[in-house]
Amino acid sequence: MSTLESTAVIFSDLKAAREVEEKVLCEVAACGYSEASCFAIKLAIEESLNNAIRHGNGYDSNKRVRVGCQIDPQRVCIIVADEGDGFDPASVPDPTANENLEKPHGRGIMLMQAYMDEVHFNKKGNEVRLIKRNN
């Protein structure tokens, strides 16, 4: 099976984000990924899109989010980029530290890192690259 490549550009709209997410997940499932991998990829896309729309674009409906995907039976690579000012991922407090355990926010990046094989942010911090290998 050859690599499926796609790019979607949406405005900062959660409903549009869910449609992109569903499309990507259908392609992932068609490539034979396990239920556990599909769960991980779903969780990571969800978190990255929520972050892009909420924190990156600040729910500004004029700003866009770009979602690029490369999917083949060996590896899934997803890139989510927003039009915000970016951020420093290293500045996000550890949500598993005792003092942060009862805070309602701040777990998205940590979950992406826990469930994907690789998570990379660009220098500006407005684009995340998520990689999951099919092993």
Binding site: L14, N50, P104, R107, M110
Partner: protein, 119 residues
């Protein structure tokens, strides 16, 4: 069992209010906000102070949903009440463990055990 909107079912077992989440996916930010508001209203209006949330139908959760649960537990504690979670599927339970939220929530394998723990 009383329908509490599209995402919840509530019932009483003695002095415990059991809330069953009926959405398979608790991911979407809009849905989570609505769900959180529904749950907080139920807690505020209830004469109960003991609550069990049953996750048997839930197959996916996001970090926003975890945040909603943390806020809900705070509201219940402010009311002098207690919250138990039960029937969390293994994949979702792993999310609680990774985030260490299994340490701040009281989680039970079954609804029966959750209700009994409040006796």
């Amino acid at each position: 069992m009383q329908e509490q909107g599209p995402r919840l079912k509530a019932s009483e077992q003695g002095d415990v209010m059991v809330i069953e989440l009926t959405d398979q996916k608790i991911l979407d930010e809009i849905n989570i906000t609505q769900l959180g508001e529904q749950l907080q209203a139920m807690v505020q209006q209830a004469s109960h102070s003991k609550f069990v949330m049953d996750f048997s139908s839930v197959a996916h959760m996001s970090s926003s949903a975890l945040g909603m649960l943390i806020t809900l537990q705070k509201k219940i504690r402010e009311k002098g009440g207690q919250l138990r979670l039960c029937n969390i599927q293994p994949t979702i339970h792993e999310v609680f463990v990774i985030t260490r939220l299994n340490e701040i929530f009281n989680i039970h394998p079954s609804r029966k055990e959750a209700v009994e723990s409040l006796a």
